[in-house]
């Protein structure tokens, strides 16, 4: 689960990590008032979950009320697209007003889980404020990435090593230690899945400050953290994805024309690959997850059908537990609602009562092709277009 920058910074403060002075605003009047508190200069930042905000004009240094006014008119209540949101756009409800920092240098600092080392890793780079993946591919020597020992947490000698790698003065040791140990504590206590400070700056008073912050959380651990759940902004999320998630369906909307309904994430990706290798594009990822009853199956089908780009729906169910007759009834429940615009269906069902399931579907008037395996799915897809 992602949260906004202003929320991330509030968490950082709670864990003793310095951030710039800032005020979060929800309308033009409060934005203008907040600007006045910073005197004649401030940085305005739209609050959206998507990355690439700066390059898309969502961050601006303003030096008079007119600029503030224009920024408010341009963004408040408007939908915003960034390089990373693609065609999607997200609503802007909040704008952060922040003091202008005097930056001597910009660095990168992140914490995330490293499955290979079974650890939380710290990643730092002296090349902050830029796309870290670019640094990683072009100048890998400018990235220090090491696992934190589970028993010890970040140790003093490691913090000295980071200090050295970032060419910071030894006088900054306790400041850097405070930040790194604070972030590590935050990561563990709140079950984060990513904390990214980009940039971490040295300002002209030689303070280390988190100028931007991105935090996301392990969704499997949210049940322990009501305070974090309260930070969720569903306006930033895809509506269908939210609805399906409530039923335990993992749905991710994409851009293609072939909707798909699959049980299991791996098989879902394999099915998407089959679609792509047939010269088409998947309209979504969908894993119905375990324990699928009629309602859940129906909801999954409805989600796919509600995507106007979907021309074909591909069902690929495989397993010993799933009852295919139940699945078929669920599909029909949803299809009946969308009767007028029901797309072509390709159905592969293998599991308990698969024959009954097919009979139920065959008894309808929907345009259905049955496939026995992935190869046949490919062939039907290629025939279809």
């Amino acid at each position: 689960m992602k949260i906004h920058e202003y929320q991330s910074k509030e968490l950082l403060k709670l864990f003793g990590i310095p951030t710039p002075e800032s005020i979060v605003t929800e309308n033009k009047i409060s934005l203008l008032n907040a600007f006045k508190e910073f005197g004649s200069r401030a940085v305005l930042k739209v609050q959206v979950h998507a990355g690439g905000r700066g390059k898309s004009g969502g961050v601006k240094l303003v030096e008079n009320s007119k600029d503030v006014n224009d920024f408010a008119d341009k963004f408040f209540g408007k939908y915003f697209k960034t390089i990373q949101t693609g065609n999607d756009s997200v609503l802007i409800n909040k704008i952060l007003v922040e003091e202008v920092s005097n930056i001597l240098s910009e660095m990168y600092l992140a914490l995330l889980v490293d499955g290979s080392h079974q650890s939380i890793n710290i990643i730092v780079s002296p090349e902050g404020g830029t796309d870290i993946e670019e640094v990683a591919s072009k100048n890998p020597e400018k990235i220090l990435n090491f696992p934190v020992n589970t028993i010890l947490g970040p140790t003093d000698f490691q913090i000295r090593e980071i200090l050295d790698f970032l060419s910071l003065d030894i006088k900054s040791f306790s400041k850097l230690k405070n930040i790194i140990q604070g972030l590590y504590k935050l990561y563990l206590e709140k079950d984060c899945s990513l904390i990214e400070i980009n940039p971490l700056i040295v300002d002209n008073r030689h303070e280390l400050i988190a100028l931007d912050a991105k935090i996301s959380f392990d969704e499997d651990a949210l049940y322990k953290h009501e305070d974090i759940l309260d930070l969720r902004d569903i306006n930033q999320e895809n509506e269908i994805e939210i609805q399906t998630a409530e039923l335990g369906i993992k749905y991710v909307q994409l851009k293609g024309s072939v909707g798909c309904i699959v049980n299991g994430a791996g098989l879902a990706m394999a099915t998407m690959d089959v679609i792509q290798s047939s010269g088409l594009k998947p309209a979504n990822f969908l894993d119905i997850g375990g324990g699928a009853d009629e309602e859940k199956i129906s909801k999954a089908m409805s989600a796919v059908l509600s995507d106007v780009n979907v021309k074909i729906v591909l069902v690929n169910l495989f397993g010993g537990i799933l009852r295919c007759d139940v699945a078929s009834r669920g599909f029909i429940m949803a299809l009946d609602k969308y009767q007028s615009s029901a797309p072509k269906l390709i159905i592969r069902m293998q599991g308990t009562n698969s024959e009954e399931g097919k009979d139920i579907l065959n008894a309808t008037n929907y345009n259905i092709s049955f496939a026995e395996n992935l190869d046949q799915i490919s062939k039907i897809l290629m025939d279809k277009e």
Partner: protein
């Protein structure tokens, strides 16, 4: 670490009184697995399926049955403790089916399993099955498997079934199939299973099924390069069609830099001598070409 399961494998099911645990325990018994006890704290003294003793603790269940393996269906908030209880009871192989265990908890559990030289499979995995010994410890549909000499290892559940289904329908039986699970932190990795298959006299060839995200496939490739392996391996990587930056269900399927991409993984495995399966429908076909 041994992955051998057979008639000597005595299994305790943790969470046997739950809906899912009970269902799959029965399926395992039907398949032939020697389920010797169940454990659910607070339900000790009950009988499961009129035949299997339920205990309050792993300690007592292990003491009474001398089991060597446990199979966990406990809900995610309690699953970490169930794994630990299993490890501390002296059980040497733990299969955790439960999905949704917080990653930070798995960091600790991995370390404890490792410190205690316990083979942990999963979490969030379908388990493992040896069709020749009629031994299934997991949730796979037993009917699609058939005895034979091909080892299957996969991060995914249903995709494993797909692979096995293709194999069985093409007359290719399996020696052992292991679903290692899709979480970022898992007990048994590709490397462990490949190492087992390479040294297993019952296995002649291997089907390897990976996914986008993480670097576990590259690490497996590095391992293959480092050992003297003459057994043919057919490898499938799924997720080439998944767009960058989107989370595709499996936590492991978050594309993280170039190394997380399907192409990078295929290249690494090809370099390590694997035959790359170019279409998910061609798993058995590809394997047949190389065995």
């Amino acid at each position: 670490m041994s992955l051998r399961i057979d008639e000597n494998t005595k299994v305790i099911v943790q969470g046997i009184t739950g809906k899912e645990g009970g269902f799959h325990a029965l399926r395992c018994i039907e398949y032939g697995t020697n389920i010797v006890a169940g454990v659910t704290p607070g339900k000790g003294g009950q009988l499961f399926n009129d035949s299997i003793n339920v205990y309050d603790s792993m300690k007592s269940a292990k003491l009474e049955t001398d089991a060597n393996t446990s199979l966990i269906f406990v809900p995610s908030p309690f699953a970490p403790d169930a794994i630990l209880e299993s490890i501390y009871s002296g059980i040497k192989t733990v299969i955790c089916i439960t999905e949704g265990i917080p990653v930070n908890e798995m960091i600790k559990i991995y370390k404890i399993a490792n410190d205690n030289k316990v083979t942990l499979i999963g979490p969030n995995c379908p388990g493992l099955i040896n069709p020749s010994a009629n031994c299934k410890i997991g949730i796979m549909p037993g009917d699609i498997f058939t005895p034979g000499r091909i080892g299957v290892v996969s991060r995914s559940g249903t995709l494993t079934y797909e692979a096995v289904d293709q194999l069985t329908k093409n007359g290719i039986g399996q020696s052992l199939c292991v679903g290692i699970g899709g979480d970022p932190i898992i007990g048994t990795t590709f490397i462990d299973v490949l190492d087992y298959f390479i040294n297993d006299t019952d296995t002649d060839g291997i089907v390897f099924i990976g996914e986008i995200g993480g670097t576990k496939e590259q690490e497996a490739a590095e391992f293959l390069k480092s050992v003297n392996n003459s057994k043919p391996i057919a490898a499938l990587i799924v997720g080439a069609s998944a767009p960058e930056g989107k989370r595709m269900g499996h936590a492991g399927a978050v594309i993280s830099g170039d190394s997380g991409k399907a192409e990078s993984k295929m290249n690494a495995l090809r370099d390590a001598g694997c035959e790359i399966i170019v279409h998910p429908g061609k798993i058995a076909d590809t394997l047949k070409k190389i065995i």
